[in-house]
């Protein structure tokens, strides 16, 4: 597998893989928070705050992957150049 093929695969699959696990984790946080609010509606404000903070923590891990995506996307070659090299004109 050539370098550019591997690079394109990594650029494509980086963020989606991170999003897969992050969405599972965030769904657990959301479910626990909603259940807590259902048990004790008067604690809804604090539970909502804690839920938002936990969601932002998990989301920041995906943001790290997004940063790597931006950096690697800058190293991808220009499509026009690649096409002209492949087709010869």
């Amino acid at each position: 597998m050539s370098y550019l093929t591997a690079l394109v695969l990594v650029v494509g699959f980086g963020v989606p893989l991170a999003t897969l696990m992050a969405s599972l984790a965030q769904s657990r946080v959301g479910a626990a928070a909603v259940e807590g609010i259902a048990r004790q509606p008067e604690a809804a404000g604090r539970l909502q705050l804690a839920m938002i903070i936990a969601l932002a923590f998990i989301e920041s891990l995906v943001i790290y992957a997004l940063l790597i995506f931006f950096i690697l996307m800058g190293r991808l070659p220009n499509t026009a150049d690649v096409l002209s090299k492949v087709t010869g004109h």
């Binding site: 923590f57 920041s60 943001i63 790290y64 997004l66 940063l67 950096i71 800058g74």
Partner: protein, 252 residues
Amino acid sequence: MHAEAASPLAAEHGSWLHFLYALGVPRWVDEAVLDCWLLILVIAALTYLATRRLTLLPKSAQNLLELVVEQLEGFTVQTMGPEGRTFAPFIGTLFLYIFLMNVFGLIPGFLSPTANLNTTVALALCVMVSTQYHGIRTKGLWGYLKHLWGEPRFLGPLMLLIHLIEEFLARPLSLAIRLFGNIFGEDTVIAQLGGMVVLTALVGVFSFLSLGLFTFGIQVLIIVFALFTGFVQALIFATLAAVYVAGAIEEH
């Protein structure tokens, strides 16, 4: 069509403050710093105007500011405990400043200073220095090192190493990159959508009327969502700063 720069991380657009460079501001002052200065001027002017005649029964602007200060102080005490009241200015300033910086870039023609990694690293360094200073101030240098040594005494060296790496590397980096990634990513999405609207307009009138307006509608919705994201990220930063400082000054 070469619509983007070589790397999206290097893609910058000027703001309306670009004329200041022609007026003589040196080029090594980044555009983000100019936007920071403008924001500081605006905040200072607004708060000065609102607090000129402090009355016991406040009216409109003073009322709003009192509400903001009360909420921030309550939030700090809620996170740090009652002895955290002295840190309310620091945490409150962090939250307010970061929130306004995040939202500043959504105004057409301005840049978010937090969309620049330098700003967020500076803010994270402020938090790190504050944590170390308050920890050493409350406990003394030896007491603080014992605090980092941890409770199972025989695990001390390992815990000290982990805590040192955490305090000086992992925590500031994660604070900075979290804030930068969120705001920069959001702004990039908004900019790319705007670029797509222009592309559809360049293709033709029909394409603009169908695809372009739809994309523009999505861009407006994402701008509204970016307000929420800016607020949440400022809240996260301030909460984490409060938690870190509280962890440094806590007594077991």
